[in-house]
Amino acid sequence: MISQFFVLSQRGDNIVFRDYRGEVQKGSAEIFFRKVKFWKGDEGEDAPPVFNADGVNYVHVKVAGLLFVATTRVNVSPSLVLELLQRIARVIKDYLGVLNEDSLRKNFVLVYELLDEVIDFGYPQTTSTEVLKSYIFNEPIEVEAARLPPLGPAAMFMQGTKRMPGTAVTKSVVANEPGGRKREEIFVDIIEKISVTFSSSGYILTSEIDGTIQMKSYLTGNPEIRLALNEDLIIGRNGSSVYDYRNSAGAGAVILDDCNFHESVHLDNFDLDRTLMLVPTDGEFSVMNYRMTQEFKPPFRVNALIEEAGSLKAEVILKIRADFAPSITANTISVHMPLPKYTTRVSFELEPGAVGNTTDFKEASKKLEWGLKKAFFFFCSLSLSFFLLLWHIHNIQIVGGSEHTLRAKLTFSQESHANITKEAGPVSMTFTIPMYNASRLQVRYLQIAKKSRTYNPYRWVRYVTQANSYVARI
């Protein structure tokens, strides 16, 4: 039983506040915000998503920079409340098209309308975007999506590739196209997050892929959909030792450790031919989530080396090799590496042979910028307050098969006594690779039950891979 629900902006302003049971005092939003902001002064730890203050339990999730909070005095199921908060955020996004502070402020009356139906006296009622449609009367006021920073996993399609209409996924389920007619289309996104840990010798210590098949349907009349996956897909490994690499043949079947499905999915034929049948409801939802620890080829090889070069100097060499087809490009890549605390100066040097470089050391910002003329602009910086080496590769895309090296010379203020490798690293990397998936899970076809001969809705099947925890130890 939820007592109150509210949404706070990053600054702690109430954007929406709904009291369902009147059991918790009115100032709870302020108490909550103060708690979260100043969670235990020691070392700036994050507040956990669930905590108790004076007998009130505060449960919150962060979505699009906003805090979705529920309070209760009852010993509820935390998963239920967290799932519900996440779902409320998603339903709001379905209606508003874009979920952010601006759109929420413009449409708060509609949000109240939704909240009235989603929760009654603290008990969840319905969170189905489709069912809710018949109870919602406010028209969403659209927010210009282009000016806004991209949000959510679907937003990654807005950069890099021109094949997708960027605004398609940011339109409301209730809004109409300018032409007055709704465009019949369906989006199926295979989003994979990969975690890899390389040992100092480049050997893979752990690897895991967490994937989800996300669907967003704008089809009218609820046609049935068949989604076919790899025929040789295997689910569940025999025996509990999931980290047994010997059994996995390189190019063989895709083996998932485990997966779960959305409620609307019928699995009648799944064991037979790996087809999922469903009648997609309106709005965005995960058809299937899966987890894989089978050996796979990591998209990037990362090598990091730190060597002492004299008493107060050391050299760092970072090497990145893209291990995928040249037709694929990765973007928004950055590499982080913590440096010893007594580092005072860093100078960078990129690939040898690259001429026309300019370096600029800004004393005030303690950042070193290093630019390459022509089409590239690499950005390296040293943030001395965190003793972190950042290597952003912004305006260029790393093409499959290519290799990039960064050399950095460090100057220290004191001699290090201990092993320098214990003072620096590990190197972590973030990236996004559209139209690539490491697991080789495929949507073989997406079949929509035809209503008439001319009915041919747009189908978008898109793949993307993101780094979750991509770490190389030194």
């Binding site: 600054r11 302003d13 109430n14 929406v16 506040f17 009291d19 049971r21 302020e30 070392e43 730890e45 994050d46 956990p48 998503p49 108790n52 007998g55 339990n57 999730v61 005095r73 009852v74 010993n75 199921s77 998963s79 239920l80 967290l82 799932e83 519900l84 502070e101 413009k106 708060f108 009356v109 109240y112 309308e113 009654d120 006296f121 008990y123 969840p124 009622q125 109870y135 006021i141 752990t206 895991e208 989800t212 569940g236 509990s240 999931v242 450790d257 485990d258 997966c259 779960n260 499905f261 959305h262 409620e263 987890r291 006594h417 201990a418 590990p426 972590s428 925890s469 770490v471 130890r473």
Partner: protein, 844 residues
């Protein structure tokens, strides 16, 4: 178009109040103008005004003064306007009960609207008014709402009954709404109506159960086989949230045989594949609770739920995965062996929040065994060099804990010693504390460790705990460390600069120990330390210095036996949580208790304990019928039984440090009862020191040595125990005693088959024990779990009571007995008596 919630506005209403006020009066004027208008476009202008009002309400500006204007404007057919008006009215009606009356009229009218949605909306708003004197207007619309042809209206009405109950329980019960709900619950075709009826009924009957016998029966009826099967068979018809509700109810159901258990599990098997984590966890709870008494199946359940849980952990949002991981953490802690091959899943990722990392470190520690320790410790050592200092510290502690679990100690000690060479202050500090603990358990490693520890300059160690550990080692191994007396001497010289009393206490003891081993070199330091200690402003330090001084004056060799006796290695370090608390947390699976790692009674007040409450069991504890002559007021006892439980646990937790200390000299040496009994002949000061651990548990490690009195606990065999046949003890005193006394005996006892067969209701055991002069003060539970509190009184000493907590599980034929006694020396005799009485159950 934009609402007046400018981002520049401060979140607190006070600065915006002045402008807010003038704007509110402005709004009032505009609303008044529009109220009667029928001009086209009025609704649009009204919408804009209403929006402004609602947005003020949201940011906390008081707009209650607009109440009558809002009501006047609400005569409209525009649904959006209606909804905004209802929202406003719901928010302010409580504070303006007189004005709320104005709204009744149009709400009642809307309740009879043609459109089911308007009917539903109006009914919901009517029920949210929360004004006690308006309930009479509620009964009619609610009654017809429950019978409405539209599922939407019935859905609203079924929750509306609960709202009415919270405004006026008497009106709700008198209008017979619960039985109408019950009828809907069993017959309605709309799944959400059924779910809402269930929510309402559960809440109403739980609250009513305190006063009404009927409500207790009704509540139990919800758990009857037909109801549970009716709901489970159509589980897929419910929304995912309603499924959670049904599954939670099912987890309390007690099936009659194992076939039923398997049927239910087969039926719910596919729920484990649900993408909603709340459904999966609720299903797991059902599985775990159903199989609790079937050991091997229970274990299979663990194997089955592992993969779904891991999937939820890795695919959800960070918040969701934290909630699931906490549950996984609980299961890992209960059965680490079952997860020992999954340890790689518990490796930390660099971008995880620290609350997740902490859980994972604990899990890694728990699953370590012969085969995976090397890899786990290697991984942990990586974290120890981490930039995240709190996690680095936790990682080092984890390494130490694994070493104490006895796997691969050799390699771990090497690594710990390598930590000391890293020369990071916090790493050194954590490692020193660990090396100290390791040496207490594995004295054979002293040689290797001391060589490294000896090289650490005490000047580089600042943290009190670490410094205390270093000083302890200096004292304990002073014969092996060449410099020990001189290092200690320099520390004594800087006595005034040492701010931590803990460190000063340790310094006193260490200097004295060093003195016994190397007297000529330490004499000077000892003198200085005792002088400084006697002048110390801290009471404990002063007392210890004085005690040492007098002890040395009295008899040096006795002092050595007291302060520096030969020691045995510690075999087990005490757990921080009692198993009773852990079990209770497990009972509350899929609730906040798991995240807080506390049972619910520690963080909620009684009325909000929710559907998971343990107090349900306790709430039904009834006072033993036969002991009516004991002047027991049952209500009073019921109200306090939670405190009783609370104080029990606290007591146990407080006891931990002292147990820890005693284990050092002699495992299983019971401080609380035996040491006092064994010491009566000794001097006053000695006895006061023996008492110390209970007074100052925080300085426990310093007292280790003091408890190391090699005195055997010879208790003269007690005279045959006679019990008073008619003891008198009122519940208040019982509770107080239970809270104050330490547990003198705790054991598990098997019951005879005829005993378990006879034990169908708590009353059976009550009468039986009474024939053995043991009275029951409270009892409760349902088969197979019963809980009793007994007491007895010595025949020859009216001040000596025995208190017993007895938990019986008839399906496993086990009884857990905890005995507390005023006279600890007689507790063994009493225990024998109690057990023989218990085993005689069912024989006569």
């Amino acid at each position: 178009m934009a609402p007046p919630v400018q981002s520049s506005r401060s979140p607190s209403p006070s600065p915006s109040q002045p402008s807010g006020k003038s704007e509110v009066s402005d709004l009032k004027l505009q609303l008044r103008n529009l109220a009667g208008s029928r001009a086209p476009g009025t609704d649009d202008s009204k919408r804009e005004l209403f929006k402004k009002v609602i947005s003020y309400m949201t940011i906390g500006v008081d707009v209650s003064s607009l109440f009558s204007e809002m009501v006047m404007c609400s005569a409209t057919s525009d649904v959006v306007l209606k909804k905004m008006c209802y929202l406003y009215v719901g928010n302010y009606a409580k504070g303006n009960p007189d004005l709320a009356l104005l709204t009744i009229n149009f709400l009642q009218k809307d309740c009879r609207d043609e459109d089911p949605m308007i009917r539903g909306l109006a009914l919901r708003s009517l029920c949210t008014l929360r004004v006690a004197n308006l309930v009479e207007y509620l009964v009619g619309p609610l009654g017809s709402g429950l019978k409405d042809s539209s599922g939407y209206v019935r859905m609203v009405a079924s929750i509306g009954v609960l709202k009415l109950y919270h405004i006026s329980a008497a009106v709700c019960i008198d209008s017979d709404f619960p039985s109408m709900l019950k009828a809907l619950f069993l017959n309605d075709t709309d799944a959400q109506v059924v779910a809402n009826c269930l929510s309402s009924l559960q809440e109403i009957w739980t609250l009513e159960a305190n006063t009404s016998e009927e409500a207790v029966r009704e509540k139990e009826a919800l758990l009857s086989k037909p109801v549970i099967y009716h709901l489970l068979n159509r589980i897929k018809a419910f929304s995912e949230w309603a499924q959670c509700l049904v599954l939670d109810l099912a987890s309390k159901y007690v099936p009659s045989d194992s076939n039923e258990i398997f049927d239910i599990m087969n039926l719910l098997e596919d729920r484990l594949q649900h993408a909603n984590g709340a459904v999966v966890l609720a299903t797991i709870k059902v599985f775990l609770h159903l199989t609790l008494s079937m050991n091997d199946v229970h274990q299979q359940v663990y194997e089955r739920i592992k993969a779904p849980l891991l999937t939820l952990v890795s695919t959800g949002s960070p918040e969701q995965s934290y909630a699931v991981l906490s549950h996984l953490h609980l299961l890992v802690m209960r059965a680490p062996i079952l997860f020992s091959s999954d340890y790689k899943h518990f490796y930390c990722q660099y971008n995880e929040p620290s609350y997740v990392k902490k859980l994972k470190l604990e899990m890694l520690t728990a699953v370590a065994n012969e085969s995976n320790t090397y890899e786990i410790v290697t991984e942990l050592c990586e974290y120890a060099a981490n930039v995240d200092v709190p996690i680095a510290r936790e990682s080092i502690r984890a390494v130490g804990k694994i070493a104490l679990q006895q796997y691969d100690v050799n390699a771990i000690v090497d690594r710990l010693l390598q930590f000391l060479e890293m020369e990071k202050d916090y790493v050194t500090a954590e490692t020193l504390v660990l090396v100290k603990d390791l040496l207490r358990k594995y004295p054979q490693w002293s040689h290797d460790c001391i060589a490294v520890v000896g090289n650490i300059s005490s000047k580089n160690v600042q943290e009190p705990k670490a410094k205390a550990a270093l000083i302890w080692m200096l004292g304990e191994y002073s014969q092996d460390m060449l410099d020990a007396p001189y290092i200690l001497e320099s520390l004594v010289d800087n006595w005034d600069d040492e701010h931590s009393a803990e460190v000063r206490l340790h310094l006193l003891t260490a200097v004295l120990k060093c003195f016994f081993r190397r007297p000529p070199e330490t004499q000077k330091a000892l003198g200085a330390a005792l002088a400084a200690g006697l002048a110390d402003s801290h009471q404990d330090v002063h007392d210890r210095a004085l005690f040492y001084y007098r002890l040395l004056q009295y008899d040096v060799s006795l002092a050595e036996r007291v302060v520096d006796p030969p020691k045995q290695a510690v075999s087990v370090f005490a757990d921080t949580q009692s198993s009773e608390i852990k079990d209770r947390i497990f009972d509350e699976f899929n609730s906040l208790s798991i995240l807080y790692q506390k049972p619910s009674y520690m963080f909620t007040d009684k009325e909000h304990r929710g559907p998971f409450e343990f107090s349900e069991e306790l709430g039904s504890l009834s006072v033993g019928e036969e002991s009516a002559d004991n002047v027991i007021q049952s209500r009073r006892f019921e109200a306090s039984d939670n405190d009783l439980l609370l104080s029990t646990t606290e007591k146990e937790e407080n006891k931990v440090p002292s147990n820890n200390g005693s284990a050092y000299s002699a495992p299983d040496f019971d401080v609380s009862s035996a040491s006092l009994v064994a010491m009566p002949g000794h001097s006053e000061s000695a006895v006061s020191i023996i008492n110390l651990p209970t007074h100052a548990p925080e300085s426990s490690s310093g007292i280790d040595d003091l408890l190391g009195l090699g005195l055997p606990a010879t208790i003269p065999s007690p005279p045959p125990l006679k019990l008073n046949a008619k003891p008198v003890l009122d519940p208040g005193t019982f509770q107080r005693k239970w809270g104050q006394l330490p547990i003198s005996l705790s054991q598990e006892e098997s019951l005879s088959p005829h005993g378990t067969a006879a034990l169908t209701t708590p009353q059976v055991l009550l009468r039986h024990m009474q024939s053995h002069s043991i009275q029951c003060i409270a009892s409760g539970g349902q088969a197979p779990n019963f809980k009793f509190f007994f007491f007895a009184q010595k025949a020859d000493d009216t001040a000596a009571f025995f208190l017993v907590e007895c938990l019986i599980n008839t399906s496993s034929a086990k009884a857990q007995i905890k005995i507390k006694a005023d006279d600890g020396s007689a507790s063994a005799a009493f225990s024998a008596l109690f057990r023989s009485a218990l085993s005689a159950l069912g024989m006569s």
